[in-house]
Structures are given as structure tokens and as C-alpha cells.
Amino acid sequence: MPVLGLVVVLEDARAETRADVAARLAARAELSGLSLGEAAAHRWPAVLEGGSAREIESRVELLRTLPGVAGVDVVYADFEDLLARPPAAVSSELHGEG
């Protein structure tokens, strides 16, 4: 399952915005796999992991639409776990509907 490195771009660089977004993140159980780094003004580095590929995708989408968030840029993706699996399993992950 990929581990993603993200930059969460906030709508502005105010401390209040950061606090609001942090509170919203804490309230969303779906985003419990998100670890936040140290914010640089309006940009907040983060790592997202856990769950299936589908869950990761919907979490990124959820993050993107959170009030106070202007956008989410993905800067890093590791998919070695996926490629390390037996060919049949990789094949079903890459091509199956699951």
C-alpha cells in the first residue's frame, strides 16, 4: 500500500486557519492515518498511510475538500509493497476492480 508524502496548502498563512484545519482533521476519524509535520506558513507537510489504495485515495480527496484547505499536492509515493507481492496479487490489485 503506498505511503504518500503530501503538502497540504492552506487558504492562507494565519495561525487561526491552521488551528481550524487541525481541529477539523482531528475530528475526522478517516484521517487518523495522517501525520502532520511542521507547517511552513500556509504549507503543511504530511504523511498519509494505511488502509487500501481506495481508502488512501478517498482520504486525499477528503483532505482536498476540507474547509480551509486550498489544495493538496502529493510529493512522494512509495509503492514497493504493491510491486513486491506475488504476480497474481499484483495483477489483481493493478487490474482487478478491488
Binding site: A46, V74, V75
Partner: protein
Amino acid sequence: MELDRRSFVKLAAMAAATAAANRAPTASAATGPAQPGVSWDKAPCRFCGTGCHVQVGVKGGRVVAVAGDPEAEVNRGLLCVKGYHVGLALYGKDRLTRPLLKQGGRQVPISWERAIDVIADRVEADPKGFAIYGSGQWTIPEGYAAQKFMKGGLANNHIDPNARLCMASAVTGFLATYGVDEPAGCYDDLDHCDVLINWGNNPAEMHPVLFSRVIDRRSRGDEVLIIDISTRRTRSTAHAQHYLEFRPHTDLAIANGILHQLIANDSWNREFVEKHCAFKADSDPPGLHGRSISFDEFKQAVAEYTPERVEQISGVPARDIRMLGDLFGRRDVRITSLWCMGMNQHTRGTAINTLVHGVHLLSGHFGRPGDAPTSLTGQPSACGTAREVGTLAHLLPGGRLVQNAEHRKQAEEIWNLPEGRIHDEMGYHTVKMFEQWSKPAAEGGDISTLWVQVTNPGQTMPNRHKLFDPGVADPDKFLIVSDVYPTPTTAGADLVLPSAMWVEKNGIFGNSERRTQQWFKMVRPPGEARDDVWQTIAVARRLHERGYPGMKDKDGRFLFHIERDGGGPEPIWDWRRFREVNVDRALFEEYRAFSRLKHKDLAPYDVYVASRGLRWPVVEQPDGTWRETRFRFSGFDDPYVAEGQEFDFYHSPTKDGRAQIWFRPYEAPPESPDADYPLWLCTGRVLEHWHTASMTMRIPPLRRAMPNAYVEMHRDDARALSISDGEVVRVETRRGTIDLPVWIEGRGAPPRGTVFVPFFDESRLINDLTLDAHDPFSKQPDFKKCAARVRRIGEDANA
């Protein structure tokens, strides 16, 4: 405590994110994130023309991780949803791994030896009827080798890239305005503009990393006014302060309206125009360079485009035309215009391109950082390979023309060919090439063999039933396709050649801002897949072995002669040897000689090895370093502008240092909605898929996010036809029919009277329906508008 692999990965992910958030390269920038057993190297993203750089993590011979490259100016560590999945594009289960020859109606595996023989046989049987259809995804050396093989070897100019379908009108727009192709500005303009105007494009989905650069500025507190001029609401619209919705094809009226306002308000930049510009209008008979006119004639010509008249034509309120005119009339703001397929895929594509350049020139919003008219490309090397290498049917490398005797002589000298080898007639442009291939020989269809490399015309050719299917069905015609995955094009092929892709081979791309980017191969291609450039050289060598005269230079050496260390020819046609030699370096160094002929100077190959790309002209400095150019024609940056001059359009079509401001009238489109087909049909792309999705459909998260095509429809149009959201309906034009689910208020929102269908889905080929009418100068077809109807399945069209 020893960290497990996952912990390392998380640390690496956070380090990359922190570096990108701080916009500061870290110690890991040059070497990639620290991860045990993973080696990192740089490469441009395989997908769009933005040209983001990625760091590619390789372990055990496979790409296992991808990170944005914080050292790359283009993307500063960021990637879009396609970019961070790019590594997975290599690992679809159905990669093509063996050459396949159609025998008895089936494609059966054959050896490479046999495949190369089959192609050589086809060339020898009909060298004039042999054509290559290539791509803006060709690397520069791949396009250069194909170009040299055809024009220098076979003396045959029937080679054209798919870039004809996506940016040919931008080329003719630049040529008609400045006398030389490609944008004067660059992405730095996005960091300096006060106003960003999107002319019929949707960068939030199509060039997301560029767009996020502007959104990031806003988050930092910069005021950036975004104006979206479009025929349909998109994700970009959501970020715009002004959305100007125009009737399809009427963007020419809007641009003329701005020109009119600048003159009516006397707010045009008289000083800039008098020093640096001249005026043009269409000639009779029409020609790319038209006829010169006076300012008074120009003023008279645009006089009819009052805001009220433009509102009548376009539907854009007169007050918005005034707003645009007022903005362009201001000297205290900097304005960047961006466009892509909306303006290019247009039967008046050259005209609207020249008009938007004209708006910037007349207002003087040109040549300062932030003041720029800039076209974007969809493919990663549409600029580098299609335009700069000149793989279009009328060009030679370095902006040379096949019809110009002096230019042919220059190419013959660089290629060491006998004088007169290069043919003086233009080859067939894409639509003509496919017409001639699809037409039976008895009816004059003189293209007998078509070799398609790195593209998928079976899905992208407009009016497919006319331009693609008949050639496939004709037993006398032969289709060769080099690709990495099965596509609708390989399905019709007589011979399929499995290709290496992206970091399985060396490569060089040229992105939308004139940036040339190099990478090295990092992993082996699967099975028997081989580099496209090898395929071309191997065929050339086979012909050479058979004594084909064109495959020798004037000294009797092989056309692709590379001197080996210690003397004698390097046998690069031998696959094992090819993998050991850096053929890209040799081809690029030869090609560089062309680049100086039109002030598009390239640096030596090794300079690109050490950089994240450089924007041409790249000129050597007295201290031996190489300096790129960000703002062409501007005295403060362009080394070719004479000392002391503020601007110099040194390739001016009028040869007097002036850029041309064109008057081009609005004219009705070739097909409009009527009683039988009452809707406009627009086609385009989506964020998740790259063009025909032959790669992105093999990436599960992208496929899941956007699994199939749909028809976007306005709620009122759907209601009038009793159609509900999600219902599968029949979409029809005079050329074809497909069934698609309806999406109301979905990703994009077309206005009443318009439907939109993306073209990525190979199971629902929208190009069965599109129009093959094309621009008279660029020959680029209009995929953005034709007349269509939608009906419920089972209901009679005439009911």
C-alpha cells in the same frame, strides 16, 4: 533502534514533504529521499507538457517510489495525481513484450529479425508510399532519428507527429506573429502576473502543477485575478473571479472586442507598438503571412467589434468585454494569458492564436515578467520533438523548411548527404496522411504503409470511421505500430513492435517553456521490448545491408554512423551493443548543430545531465558556463537582442524587428447545431487520465477514480429529453454514434445546448463522432465543436 522499512519510507515521505513545503532543496534533493536499498535518479514526468521533474526510486530492477524533485524549478517538489503514479505506468500486466505479425487474421509472435525484415520489405516495395506518424511523446533523439531516416534517408517527407492534433495552430500563430515558433515567456510569468487569463483551457486539471503555483501565491496573500474564458465550467472556473462563458467558436469576436476597446479608449501602448509592431490582415489568396496593413486600416477593421456587437456574437456581456479592455489598457498590472487545446483545436486556430498575441502586443503586455501570451502543450515533448526537431511534414530540424532550397542544403551538410537528397515537397500533414492511407490505392490513396510510433491514432483520429477504419480494413494497406500496451491502434495493426518506455531507456524531452530535460535509463524494458530509436536505426541498417542507396551518406557511411572509440563504426543496430552505448548523446550532439540556425541554441548533452533542464536559447558564457533564456525578445534577458535595445523580434516576418498584430474576423464554424443535431459536442481530457489513457488506465487508483467516459449535460437539456443522471443515452453526430452514461453537474458543467465527452475511454470512442474539418494553415482539426444530438436508447431519433 533499527527502523523497519515502513518507518524509513514514512521518514523519507515526510522529508520530501517538508522540503517541498519549505520550497527549499534539502540534502536529499540531489540524491533522493533516504531509503535503504533504493537508488534515485532524476527524470521528467512521462505525462504532460508541464515537464515536472520526478526523482525515481529503483530497487531490485524496478521503480518502487517516486518523489517530486525539489531542485526542479518547474514543480519545486510537487507532483499531480498522474505524476506521483507515473512509476506504476511501467507495470501493467499486459505490456507488449514480443513483436507480433498478423497472420491469418491473428497477431502471432515473431522475432525482431523477422519484424525488421518485414518493415524493410515494405519500404523497398514502395518507398514513396511509406509514412511515419509519430508523436509529441517521442524523445528528442527518437524524433530526430525518425526524421533523418525519412527525410534524409528515404527522401520522403511523409512524416508528421500527433502534435498536429494538439498544438499546430499555436505553431502557425507564433510564426505569423513573430516569425519563429514557441512562447517568448515561461512559467516564471505565473509568479509575477497580477492577472491570469485562461482562454478556453482548464489548467486546474490539465496542467495542475502550474495552476497550483498560482493558487499557492494566493494562499501567501498575493492578489491574483483569474479570468476564465470558456465554453463550459471546469475545476479552473471554481478558482476564477470572472467566468466569461462564450458560444463555441466566438473567441475571435472576444479578442477583437478587446482590440477594439484598446483603440476606442486610446489605451493601447502607442510607444511599444510604434517601435516594435506592424499590422497584418488576411491576403487573397490566403497565406500564413497575409498582407501588411496600416494602423488606420486595422482600426477600421476592428471598429465593428463593439462590446455590444461582441455580446451578440459570443453571448459574453458587453460589460465583461469592457472589463477585459480596461484591464489590458492598464500599465500597472501584469497579464499572462494561457491557452491550450481550446484555441488550437479550432478551424480558426491560427486566427485566434494571432489575435491573442495581438491583444498582448497592442496593449504592450509583453516581455516583462508576468506579461506574456503563452500556449501550453499537452504532451511531454510536443515542443522539444515535434516543433524543435521539426518532425512536422513541412519542416527540417531547427525550424528549417523542406521547401526552402537553402534550408535543405543546410540539412544535407549537417547530415553529410549528397546535395539534392532531401525532397522539396511538403509531406502529408496528419489528416491528409490518414486520408491517403484510408483511401484505396485505386482511388489515389498513395500511402501504402504507415508506421505509428508512440501514439494511438486509432483512438484520437477525428472522424475515425473515415480516417482510420478503412485503412485497417484494406488488405493492401499495412499498419506498423510501436507501443507499450495494446490500444485500439495496435488492435488494427499488421505488425506490432513492443517498445521500451520512459526510464527503461535514455531520453530527452522539451517542455512547454522551451526547457530541454535529459534522463538516463534506470530499469530494463520487459521481455523483448526495445527502444523506438533502436527500431528506427535497425530498419535503416537492414536497408543499408540490402544496398538501399539512401541509407548511406555522401562518403558511403551508414546514415546513423557513430564512430566507436578506437575508430570504425559502432554497431548500434545490434541490440546488445545499443544498450551499452549512449546513442542519445551522439544523436543529440549532431542535432545541436541545427538548433543554432534559428536561435534555439542547445547546450552540450552533458550540461543537461547535470541540470533539471534549461530553457533555450542556451548560450555559452565567457567563463565556460551555459546560460538559459527565460524571456525571449526582451533585451534584459535574451542574448540575441542587440545591446541597448529593449525588445527585438529578430525573426520578424517583415524582417524589420517587428512583431505582427493581426486583424482576423470572426467567421461561423463549419458545422453548427441545427434542427436535427441541436447540441454542441465538445471533447477533451480529464485530470486522472493522460490523453487516451493507455498508460493511466493501467494504474489502478487512476482507473478507479475515472473508470469510464460519460457525457456531461446541462440539467435542463436532460430534463427536456426526460433523461436522468446516470442513464445511458445515445450520442450521435452525422459521423457516428456512441452510448454513454449522463453526468449532470459533474466534473464540468456545460451550459444549455452543449454536451462534453472526454476522449480517454478506448471502449467508447468519441472520435467516431468528431469532425475532421481543420484550420487552413495549421491543418489542425477541430475536436471542440460539432453538431450532435442525445436521445434515450430505444427512442427514434425523429420521434
